[in-house]
Amino acid sequence: MKRNTWQEYQKEVADDNYYYLRSCIRQNFFPGSEKAFVKIIRDELGRNIFDDPAHTSCTGIGYHSDIVLHETIMTVVARQFSLMQDAGLENAAVSCITSFGIYTEVLETWREFPEVEERIRENLYKATGREFYKPRNLAHTSDIIFHHREAIRDRAKYLLVNRRTGEPLRGVEHIGCHYAKIFPKEGIGGVEFPYVLAGMIEAWGGTVVDYPERRHCCGFGFRNYLVQANRGYSIGNSQKKLESMAPYKPDFILTNCPGCGMFLDKWQYTIAEIEGTTYGEDGKGIPVLTYEELAGLVLGYDPWELGLQMHQVDVEPLLNKMGIEYDPAAKYLMPNGKYIGRPAQAAVNMGVE
Amino acid sequence: MNYYDHFVIPFVVGTAFMFAVIVWKWGRWLWKLPVADKKAIVRGVFSLDTLRAIREVVYESLLHRKIFRVNPVLGYMHMSLAFGWFLLIAVGWIEASVVLGTGTPLHAHVFFRYFDTAQHTGWNPFAFIMDLLLLMVLSGVALAWFKRMRSRALGMKRTTKHVFIDRVALTALWLIFPLRLVSESFAAAIKHNGGFLTGGLGSLIAATMDSAVIETLNSLAWWLYSFALASFFVAMPFSRYMHIFTEVPLIFLRRYRLHSTAREKSFDNFQIQACSRCGICIDPCQLQNVLNINNVQSVYFLRDRRYGKLDEKVADNCLMCGLCESRCPVGIELNTLRLNSRQKSIDTPALTRYDYLQGIDRSSGNGKVGYFAGCMTLLTPTVLRSMERIFEAAGEGVWWADRDGGSCCGRPLKLSGEVNAAERIMARNKELFAKHGITTLVTSCPICLKVFREDYNLEGIEVIHHTEYILRLVHAGRLSVEATGQEFTYHDPCELGRGSGIYEEPRELIRMAGRLVEPEHNRREALCCGSSLANLVIDDSQQSKIGSAVTSELEATGAATIVTACPLCKKALARDASVRVADISQVVAENLRVAS
């Protein structure tokens, strides 16, 4: 990738004092990621972050599936801001790309139509007796990791470098559509040349592969996945991306959106089952990671504590390349030692122990 | 006496081979004829048609009357060769029978002068006649040589480019008669049995040569003559000379009403192999004389088709204007053969093809007279408007089949070789006509007219072109045309004129409206406008070139208006015309006399 990425789209990211807004689905798809985020911010970087048990779903999936009204979701968002106000914080750190898109959209709506904001304030007050202020800084948690990428590198135990050859590992990145496609100025690097994940990969010693369908949607598309009959379209989009990236032989896929990570991972299994195609080395899949998982690996966290065993495509080839020491026998054990069972063998992870 | 000498072997073998091949070919073709054709033959054999056929064989195969009409020199050349040779055989057979008696083998007749046993003293009338005939044939051969070298002198701009087997046969044919002259002269030198020609040459030989030398050369000459005959006979069934014999059964079969159709059948072979490749079809072809395309004319088309080398670029590159067909001395159905050669290669429509026409009826109005404008007429609204005025003036109730867009008639598809597909469209149109109960179907498009008449089998519905219809209205007093001082010239559309035989109706109408000046080529000789749907190959500029050549000829008449009776011709001529181009219906509609 060329060095001269657009400088136009830069973004201010708060350095400390975050109010954490978790993602509904990430906690299921990648259960170790959000835990790792809090750990990195709080323990590694010594920053203040408030993980509020009182906040709720942003209802974004319901909104994009036409079952939650605009008015409703704006009120829900207002309540989250009210909780942030209670915590005395001003910097919203949003874990989910859908939520991030929702928050930016709501704030933009209020900016353009102050009377709507007034109405929402009224709604919230009538419903809960709450008031709120708007965040001073709104960032996606990948923005925050990007912001601290050099600090993480300073603490790195492993780098994105092939231990055997010394070559940088090749990463392809995939940015969630709602990160910057709705409001390009809200994303680092904008929509055409996103740099938020690329910056992490480069900072941590890897190299970013620019492949033709880099900007293409993963295919989640809410209703395209949620309605079973439409899933062929969803998987078709993932396949288009996988086919486009495969010739570059990437060592891993890095995502910042819960849906994208999920689908680029799980659809690899489905495609292999339906038509026998796999896209990684040796007939296996391409490992898919969240940025927290990647940061966690760089910082030397245990892969199973990061939840990497929950991925459909096995991550061991990547761990081996990075030279990460791990206990293969512990992969399917809970921290208390209880066996959680292992999935049936599938084409995308055949032969990995 | 067995009248045998070794030199007769080539002749005997060649003759036997030739007749075997011809019998086998004809037999196979006849055997493969459809049942209906076979029945027609059986019905025809014992009718007057057989006598008519015999007369035609004499007129055409021997005397070449048609070629005489087209070109007397060419006619004489063909007649001297065909009829002369026939008489040589016939008179020679009589002479041999008289001298040698009956029951002698064939070769004894053919080589009679060699086997002649009579003692000759004084003037021999047979020898005189035979020499006269030989001289006549030789004059034909000389003309043929001359034609090869200088065709223009015989009124042909171009002659046919022949294939190898034709050249072999031709060479043999050219050698036969000079060799016969030489052989018979040598025989006459020995036996003194020649006439004024061979006898004279014989005396000269006898006077100048040693008798032993004469004996040797005599033998050699007869061997060569026999070889020449044999070569010709062996090559003949595979060369253009197959036409000599094939034309005969063709004449009979045609008299028995056998015709080629849009689909190939074995009768086509009689037509194809009856082509003598005389090349008369080359000169009139507009593709040749305007566009300089030299390999697609009927003679080449038939040749390529006969030898199984027909390229679709040749088959598809024909205007099917019918000009060559009208000139063909053998009367071969050239358009039909062209058409069915296209059908063979491409016509397998899907079973659901054109199902979309089902139930579509955009017709309007009511009446016993149906009017089918045709696709092209929809692009010439003046014709449509004129017909409206004419119908109105005549007080005719009309059912408008396609004024608001209708189906195609199917002929363009047929012309493109998709006969089966065309029939699917025709069936839908027939349903429509039947549904609306019309008794007369008028069309403005000669292309539609032809297909309605020839392929639709519209029982109870009379199909006429608007020229015929308008004239009828005039004759019935329902319409009258005001005379003007204008001058008109008329372009005969191919499909209307040569295609449907309608020449006089439009002329009669024009004369009512003004003065008619005929262009150089008219009626059966009329030129094609170039936009014919039958040609799938030539491009736009080529079409326009042909069109402007025709337009120039029409403009040369000095007439103020070029009249035609086909929307396609109208558009083609108007492209390049500096005078007005109008349809016949326009001329009538504009000059309707108000009923008093």
Binding site: I235 | D316, I346, M376, S416
Partner: protein
């Protein structure tokens, strides 16, 4: 194979990297004027068949030129070869020959 209840949708995009241009190029070699089409739509507007059913000659021959033959194969059968389109084409394209060639090259007919 597990039953997923759906299959992988194929992209609708015309892929000029993978399409086979051999038949299209042959067509254009024989009828080069087709390249001068300016997509005015006259052919389609005047089309006898197109006024009776959904048939768009302009679109079909454009598809063929892009190497998309399957749709063309199905579509060209609707044409009646009446030749009106040829009369209205401002670029003088021998449209009937285009129809015939597309059908022949695309295997509509058994040769």
């Amino acid at each position: 194979m597990p039953q997923f209840g759906f299959s992988i949708s194929q992209p609708r995009a015309v892929n000029l990297d993978t399409n086979d241009f051999v038949p299209a190029e042959k067509l254009l070699r024989e009828l080069p004027e087709l390249q001068s089409c300016i997509a005015c739509g006259s052919c389609t507007a005047t089309c006898t068949a197109g006024n009776l059913t959904s048939f768009n000659f302009r679109k079909v021959h454009t598809l063929v030129r892009r190497g998309e033959y399957r749709e063309a194969y199905e579509q060209m059968d609707k044409c009646m070869l009446c030749g009106k389109c040829r009369l209205v084409c401002p670029r003088g394209i021998n449209t009937r020959a285009v129809v015939m060639k597309i059908k022949r090259e695309l295997g509509d007919y058994q040769r």
